[in-house]
């Protein structure tokens, strides 16, 4: 892609999990909008996002821009499912910092077992090193329990476990 702005936009959409067909369809619709309508839509979205921020648990200091240099990497296969899922649950959804995640996961997995310290490298690297001591499934389970603790939502009509 020659135009870097379009390239960046496409990376955002792909990173957000959009299917190729959906991206093409939306871009075709966008191309038909007038610049006036487009500005109107963008203003509306900015307003709604501001409202969400005000009332949600996500602190401004922890909210990450949806697009950043690191997000470029997320679109690639460089990261494990473990990192991507921990990032979705604890960073994007709860707005926790790397230090908070390390502290909470350590507490949850904890006990007397050795836990590697958070290096300057990244959370992905820390999770990779943690996988030496705990299975990825156990780490992701701990992250899901932390997410559930912070984010109590409406229970499912048919829960995983049920009453049996």
């Amino acid at each position: 892609m020659k135009n870097p702005d379009i390239n960046d936009l496409l990376i955002i959409l792909v990173s957000a999990g959009w299917a190729k067909r959906d991206i093409v369809s939306v871009l075709m619709q966008v191309s038909k909008l007038s610049s006036f309508d487009l500005e109107d839509e963008l203003s509306e979205i900015s307003y709604r996002l501001g409202e969400v921020r005000r009332y949600s648990r996500i602190k401004e200091s922890h909210s990450r821009p949806l697009f950043s240099p690191s997000a470029k990497k997320i679109a690639s296969d460089d990261y494990s499912d473990l990192y991507l899922k921990v990032r979705d649950m604890l960073v994007l959804e709860l707005g926790l910092s790397n230090e908070q995640i390390v502290s909470l996961l350590s507490e949850k997995l904890g006990g007397d077992a050795y836990l590697p310290p958070l290096s300057k490298k990244s959370l992905a690297n820390w999770l990779e090193r943690l996988s030496v001591y705990y299975s990825p499934s156990e780490i992701l389970h701990a992250a899901a329990v932390i997410r559930e603790r912070f984010n109590k939502g409406r229970p499912l009509d048919w829960g995983v476990r049920g009453e049996s």
Partner: protein, 298 residues
């Protein structure tokens, strides 16, 4: 004098969920194919589902007819190849056939020369006639079949590094045979409420199954994750569950047309020279490594 080291028996993994349509057969076929390639282990896949879809996925009809004629199906394990019909079997135990006489080699890896085997993927084809065992009421007859199957799996555990059993989605005699022989259960679930019910039903079935001396270890795999507009609510609940969460593999399988049955292609989807087959192969490879660790085969 140094003691002769006894070969560790291979794990036996049944791919099972009480609900149909969760991807049992697709996962049995394609994961075992990548597992063998990725880990360089000897793998045997047993098609124990009377619908024998796994067999049909991999072999053309003409080839399968030849296997049937030569007794190279799982029916030769359940009963000795004497005169039996679709509706009856016999009480005589008979000799179990040799593994090499009934399994079919589908893939192999070698180094240097063709006689220097590194690993192989073998399949014991399925057979529609297996359905008669679910219809029989005579306990003695089906006990004979169950004993033969158990003996066969024990022999296979000495020969292979991993034995996979593709099961049918019900609590039938065949499921019981698979459960008794298994050290592990790989339970595919889709992130929807119906699939989760299948998981609970399987749990109830196993917990109430008194004849099971040692309960097989469960490993859960999420299958059919949509690539766009995915709502992870059910997945999050599964992963936070104290029993199911720690045994759910982190690597999930996404929805892909490549894994759907194709009337014009017979074989493994990852072997097709089409778009996305490389990325599917790579994901199956990652999944294989995680599964190998969960099975203690790393």
């Amino acid at each position: 004098m140094a003691k002769q080291q006894q070969k560790k028996l291979a794990p036996v993994m049944s791919i099972l969920n009480m609900k149909g349509g969760v991807g049992k057969t697709t996962i049995s076929a394609h994961l075992s194919r990548e597992f063998y390639r990725e880990t360089e282990k000897n793998v045997l896949v047993v098609d124990l589902d009377p619908q024998f879809n796994l067999t049909q996925t991999i072999f053309h009809e003409k080839k399968y007819e030849r296997f049937k004629r030569d007794g190279k199906t799982v029916l030769s394990v359940m009963e000795s190849p004497e005169s039996t019909s679709l509706y009856d079997t016999h009480e005589t135990d008979g000799e179990l056939p040799d593994l090499s006489d009934i399994v079919v080699n589908v893939k192999y890896l070698w180094r240097g020369t063709t006689d220097n085997w590194v690993a192989r993927l073998d399949i014991l084809p399925g057979d529609f006639s297996l359905c008669k065992f679910s219809l029989m009421e005579d306990r003695d007859l089906i006990e004979t079949a169950a004993e033969r199957f158990a003996k066969f799996i024990e022999k296979a555990r000495e020969t292979y590094d991993l034995v996979c059993i593709d099961c049918n989605p019900s609590s039938s005699f065949l499921t019981v045979c698979a459960l008794k022989a298994s050290t592990h259960l790989l339970v595919p679930v889709r992130p929807d409420r119906y699939s989760m019910l299948g998981l609970r039903m399987l749990d109830n079935f196993i917990n109430r199954f008194k004849a099971l001396a040692v309960k097989p270890k469960k490993i859960i795999i999420l299958n059919g994750i949509p690539r766009g507009g995915y709502d992870p609510t059910v997945e999050n609940e599964l992963r936070s569950d104290p029993e199911y969460g720690p045994i759910t593999l982190t690597t999930s399988l996404y929805m892909t047309k490549l894994l759907a049955a194709n009337p014009r292609y017979t074989g493994f989807a990852t072997d097709r020279k089409v778009a996305h087959s490389n990325s599917l192969q790579s994901r199956m490879g990652v999944l294989s490594r995680e599964l190998a660790a969960a099975l203690g085969l790393k």
